[in-house]
Amino acid sequence: MGFVRLVLRRKTLLFAVGVLLSLVIIAIFSPYFVPYDPDALSLTDRLRPPGAAHFFGTDHFGRDIFSRVLVGTRVTFILGLSISAFALAFGVPLGVLSGYYDRVGMVLMRVIDAIMAFPAIILALALMAIMGKPGMVNVIIAVGMVWAPRMVRVVYSSTLSLRENTYVEAARALGASSGRILVRHITVNLLSPVIVQSTFTFAFSIMEVAALNFLGVGIPPYVPSWGGMMNEGRTYIIRAPWIIIFPGVFLALSVLSFNLLGDALRDRLDPKLRNLL
């Protein structure tokens, strides 16, 4: 209940949650209510500016930008969720183990630091090249591999401070096994930092997915995606800037909302995290 009241009290947060809810609804239901088939070509309607018939105009194939942007929301959210899930699946176990067992931590953190020496997009590009062909699963792996180490770091440093708590010591004194302590006492208490970090992972990963699609190495161009649309619109940027403007606005709004939500959750769930994340 506290969170609902917080949302209503803070205008920026209200805005963020409003935008995200609308985007989720669009992501789920847009294929059923968009005015045009997002893939329907119409050579007589090429490069039409925004107007009553086409709210966001049309592209060089006469496809309706409005319909394509809305349908592109689905791909964006599926990828954002999958990448965050990927980061969690690797980040939580590895982070907890490194935080709890000093030896594991010493070795693993060095490797994690080394992976993080590769700037995000360079690593993602290299992984896409290694895996060979564009596609959803490959994008999830490539971008997930970039954000998983950051999740490991957050979980690691949270575990380091959690294991010093008196209740962990008490559990150990009572004869609890390491496994039990890890699952029942540490992982459970990681919820706040992990939720916050997942929100940021989502925000950064959809931005990176858009960059990959923009560069033409993400998902195949026939799937409507915001980054892919911007890539296709580049040739017509001066004549028909709307092809690029609208997908970019949707992308920026999504990222902004997730960042606002992440900030608010961080302050709400655990003010100590301010310095950590």
Binding site: V111, A114, A117, L123, M230, R234, I237, I238, G248, L256
Partner: protein
Amino acid sequence: MSRGRDMLSYVVRRAAGMVVSVLLVVTITFVLMQLIPGDPVSVLLGPNATPEQIEALKRTWGLDQPIWVQFYKYFVNFFRGNLGESIFFRQPVLRIIGQRAETSIFLGIMALMVVVGLGIPAGVIAAVRPNSWVDNSLLLLALAGASIPSFWLGLMLMVLFAGKLHLLPSSGYTSVIATGNIANLKNLILPAFALGFVNAALVARTARSSMLDVLRADYITTARAKGLRDSVVILKHALRNAAIPITTVISFTFASLVSGAVVTENVFALPGVGSLIVQSVLKRDYPTIQGIMLVVAVLYVVINFATDITYAFLDPRIRYR
């Protein structure tokens, strides 16, 4: 005396850490390249290659040897500055990167000027009048800046300044060093702004919060009580002490600038290292991809090391950690 010893032991410890990081970076790149499915040689030669041709090329590249021999040679070559040969350009990778470095370095420096020139003043102004309308609008702008993809900002700037206003060139870049024409830097203004703005937002947020912390300190109250002018208190007393966290964030922006540059160079058709890696990915030029990964990551490790050492000089407390 002990001060010097502390410092020395700190530098040695950090240098050892740096060496380990470089070794790991080299290893990770090697492992990644082993993950390429299938056989890069047959992929490269195409379906019409005869087994003899494939064998011959494998022998030239040393791919017929056991993996640990390959790894050892790879390591030795790396430390000799030999990063292999580009499949597409048929030239040493390091030379190609060198040819593309000028654009990226100038772009990076100009973007950094945007980061510092916008970020620090914005953060300081916001911190001086916390919760005023100036502060709130700057904060909102910074938040928006951190959420706008730099390539989209670049495209929008292109539409506005090159398309509508015809003020600045929208793409391409000719070497300043080769032609001696410094006016070529004009081509980097829009890309540098697009790239810098996002990071300026981060720096502004940090500058604001560290300035706020410092402005609450007793010595600021004392300085004000002495009757010093506001500008002196803020610039001389406060900003100086807020400088360390701000510098940290600026040094962090390296990785983010490199990432942004990859896409920005592509948007503005700049012949830099960023557009080189994208081309190499599209052409499956694995040696070049690998070479760029190595150069960038090693640079990152070295910059981190240099920043840490600089802090230890500036702030003695750091050495004891």
